[in-house]
Amino acid sequence: MIAASVIAEVVSMLHAASAADLVNWTEAELYGYMNRQLQFAHARANYLTQVQTLAGFSAATANLAADQVSIIEVVWNGKVLLRRTVSQMDSLSATWETDMEDEPVAAIYEQQGSSIIRLSPIPALAGTLEIVYRATAPTLAAVNSLAVPQCVDVIVTLRTLADANLKDGRWQFEESASFANALADIMESAAKIYYGEAA
């Protein structure tokens, strides 16, 4: 997806030959709508999978990458850790939060919200922690592009147009926004089936 191409197409749909000709919007507004919809799209379907690698790791908790939407799996020295909840760990051991062994067995995702995971037992020896996660998209400027399936181009173009039209939200602006959102919904439903949901 090339950010400048998406914006150029939206500008054309808004009856302007170029961004400078826009009457009711600025180019910066359109980029704002586009980036917001790009991140919403990545919060709904799994377009991007990333791996966060922490070499030489030996702490009880790890901060997750800022762009993570949800975790697929947590790997320690090449071995996938069991996924556990706090209540499951409480039922297994009263001291799980301070238990220490050479290697962790489980990863607890929910104890401290969605930005930190905890390992149990705490690893006594340093190892490589890899977190495979569903990622959101970065904020794109005109010079940027993103390696995602082309359905994202279509979805984000339509939803950016809808957001721009809803700024006014009357008459044909509202009709155009309804059409764009409904068509984007159809594409997004298919994307969730093909690639899985993000959260």
């Binding site: 799994n46 996938v80 155009s176 059409f179 409904a182 159809i186 439903s189």
Partner: protein, 226 residues
């Protein structure tokens, strides 16, 4: 049909007089709408396919795929050295063998991680070339002589879809019964081709099927033209 022919048909559908000096719908608008209709058609029917390769390095659990295969929608058939791999998921592979990332063995199965990465299980001890037959977005039409890489009998539907997209996005289509019919025709064409692809994929034992467009979603789309 070439892009020029598609454009002429699309502009005819929206009753744009191309001889006029002042144009409400430009050639660029029509080309963009054709491009969008083509991508929607390919995505919802999975009718365009090709074969490509990616390299998985020694010891690598998964590799990014979209840089090498930028038009990819879904893999249909994955082989390594002529061996057909079965489709799985990361969760199932990890449930089978939690230490699979450390244990090289002949390849048996693959999993897509989202839309951009592929994993091969077991992990490989040397670099392997993974051959993927996959559905794709048809190559972009960048010149007037280009022909969409989809069945010829579906080209008319692209023009109908493009016309509906122009009306819906630029003009707001409320009360436009003709544009509503064009949109219905476009999705009729999509359903017909998707049904055909499903039967073909079953016969070929391909593992990806076109997603069904729900009646509720299509009804909501058509209501935006009422």
């Amino acid at each position: 049909m070439t892009r020029a022919e598609l454009r002429a048909k699309t502009l005819g559908f929206v009753e744009e007089d191309t001889a006029q000096t002042f144009r409400y719908i430009s050639d660029t608008d029509a080309n963009n709408a054709i491009s969008m209709a083509l991508r929607i058609f390919c995505f919802l029917t999975l009718c365009s396919e090709t074969t490509g390769t990616v390299v998985l390095l020694a010891g690598e659990a998964h590799t990014l795929i979209l840089e090498d295969l930028p038009n990819l929608i879904l893999p249909l058939r994955v082989t390594v050295g002529g061996t057909l791999l079965y489709r799985s998921s990361l969760e199932r592979i990890s449930a089978l063998a939690s230490g699979w990332r450390n244990d090289p063995n002949p390849p048996e199965r693959y999993a897509m991680a989202g839309a951009n990465a592929i994993a091969i299980h077991p992990i490989q001890s040397s670099a392997v070339v993974v051959t993927i037959t996959y559905t794709r977005f048809a190559p972009a039409l960048t010149a007037d002589g280009h022909v969409p890489d989809i069945p010829t009998e579906d080209h008319d539907f692209i023009a109908e879809g493009a016309a509906a997209i122009i009306v819906g996005t630029k003009l707001g289509g409320q009360g436009d019964a003709i544009a509503e019919q064009r949109l219905k025709n476009f999705f009729t064409g999509i359903k017909r081709r998707a049904d055909w692809v499903r039967e073909r994929n079953k016969m070929n034992r391909f593992e990806a099927m076109p997603a069904e467009v729900s009646k509720e979603a299509l009804k909501k789309l058509l209501e935006s033209f009422k």
